[in-house]
Symmetry: none
DNA sequence: GGCTAATCGAGACGGTACGTCACGTCTTACT
DNA sequence: AGTAAGACGTGACGTACCGTCTCGATTAGCC
């Protein structure tokens, strides 16, 4: 799991000590760990810095809020969890995707981070803007829809955005609105989704 | 708008000054106002007390967190916003309901409160528990589903919980995941929902 | 120890429930107990009322401050502790009195109450005024001085107030300024006092 | 009046912003001012911080209680007020000292601070311990006694601690027990003290 | 024996200080 | 110049007690 390896800032323009890669990675790992150990609400900038063995100022220099750190630490990497291998039939393809979504939202650490940020975004416009830069679920669902269209299992004129919402929405609703435990069956949702194509 | 009129606690068993209805209503109104004016995140227990012209201890005596106050202030009353008059045909009935949901989630003050609480619930189990006591969207969608079954427009063996998720989920997903502006069409969602009845 | 038996207020002018003697005594005992158990600083009006099994308003109705209650509870009765039986010789008389003072200031519960109030009086004029109504040590020392004058062991023109201060002051200073443990010898103080009679 | 110039803490071992001398001095001056303006009882940690233009946490970081601040602010410096220049004769020396004591206890701001702390010490062991670190009156009286012994005006075997109490006690008693106004004459007290030496 | 009125215990009321915590900024010495 | 450390001013946290108020219940003297 080779994470946090890409440099974010280039070589500094002129002079000065370069940004410490060690510090950057330590902060991202600290956020990951703390999310699991104490949860998003209990995380503090101070705690993150201490856990990372890093000065407080260093954290503020590169990130504004814990949401930003968490976003960089978890959410981007999370895209891979939402990209299962394409399957031979559309039914299997869609089912596999919905299973991935379900696993992501209920079981994965990255999913927990995503839900935490999503929650914060409901009342913090800054976080909302942050999340808006990456339509995590939408971007992962779109290829599935497009493969189905390509195979002729959905009409060519399908409104992709609406189809995405119809595909992901039911699962998303159940998890986010609090009924995490009584998950819906991805197989049955996939079948219903495909039974009759969305209207153009 | 005759809100906050019901007494919450009965007459005390014996002795003691009774709870001040004035204070209770003042707090609930203060929370309503502050949610609109400064938003959920900026609301503090201290600010609520001051705005209500009430002692801080008095707030803590009856509510533990701002989430609890907001819940009592907004969410219960919100149910009415989600109960449009039944329509003659199932298509119109479902469409009217989805329009109400859309209005509630994007335009209403009570809906803003609900989304704020929903957000908090993603990382605060106490708030999650609070919301679990009232399945706001589910409870409002169920009668719509049941009316459709009664009319024979959905199969009698329909899994109601799944149908609720399929009905509400797409809209919910779009709003909560941040695409509040590019709303989906309730009419088209209703049509698709009915063309593609959930499998039993 | 027949304490707290006198009525403080007379019969009311007309009608009304009379003051409860039970409540009055309960409060005074509660203050006595609490002073020993938790100390003056930790005593609160609320705690006194609860300990006495009495309403808070009832306490406030009859006393303004905890100092007032403590004064009524302990200090007045304390006078008896400072009035040892007169002795045959002046030396023995003065020694016996200083022993009583020493015991009162360092060992007695009433003495602890007195010191607590004396302390409060250093920065609370109300308490200072309260204590000024009864010159506890002065009133008890004056008879001793006067007996000594009567026996001819002090000059007839002795300034009694100054003599009182010279008699009591050394012990008082040691105790109040914090050297409670290394008490002075009443016998030696008495001897010095009499060898060095105050100048008129 | 070059007060509050000594550093209390040394240079930190490594790193970290050093303690702000500005904040330290501001707090000590604020306590001095507030003692005079509103009195000890009305002083609060919050008020001190505000008056000093300093964060509340900063006050707590360096002092635990207002007593501790007041002690550092006033009492140590007070020693100078209790050290009048030695006089040629013992009678004048003792008289000058008692006059200084009288002035300190009744007229000086540092004396007011000392009495306030002394009062608090009667019911707060922590303050008692604080005051025990500096025997303000004892330490100032001892040189006077020793000079008198040196001049042969007191016997060589004099019990110095007892002599201190006998010297300072009468004045102390009058002031602390509430009769601040009707002060005793330092001259007469000095004369009586020296008329016949204390017994060894 | 009913009326009047002040008391009683209880406990909620609006305030305010407590001591703690995290915020985001700053000022050091060190690398 | 960037870093770890940690003090800085700010302000919310939840608790405790303040002194006041509002209850229903009680307890006397008076008609």
């Amino acid at each position: 799991m080779p994470r946090y390896t890409g440099r974010v800032t280039g070589t500094p323009a002129h002079g000065g000590r370069p940004r410490s890669e060690r510090a950057r990675v330590a902060v991202l790992h600290a956020v990951d760990d703390l999310l699991v150990e104490i949860g998003y609400a209990a995380m503090t900038m101070k705690g993150i810095a201490q856990r990372a063995g890093v000065g407080r100022q260093t954290v503020y220099r590169w990130w504004s809020t814990k949401a930003e750190i968490l976003f960089e630490a978890s959410v981007i990497d999370a895209a891979s969890e939402l990209a299962p291998d394409p399957q031979d039939t559309t039914a299997e393809d869609v089912t596999a995707y919905l299973e991935a979504v379900s696993r992501f939202l209920t079981g994965s650490a990255a999913g927990a981070a995503y839900r935490a940020l999503l929650g914060e975004a409901q009342h913090d416009p800054a976080v909302a803007g942050l999340l808006a830069t990456t339509d995590l679920l939408g971007d992962s669902a779109r290829p599935v829809i497009e493969r189905a269209i390509g195979r002729g299992d959905l009409p060519a004129q399908t409104d992709v955005d609406q189809a995405v919402a119809q595909l992901v929405g039911p699962l998303f609703f159940r998890v986010v609105s609090g009924y995490r435990d009584q998950a819906l069956s991805p197989r049955r949702l996939a079948a219903d989704f495909l039974r009759r194509p969305p209207m153009p």
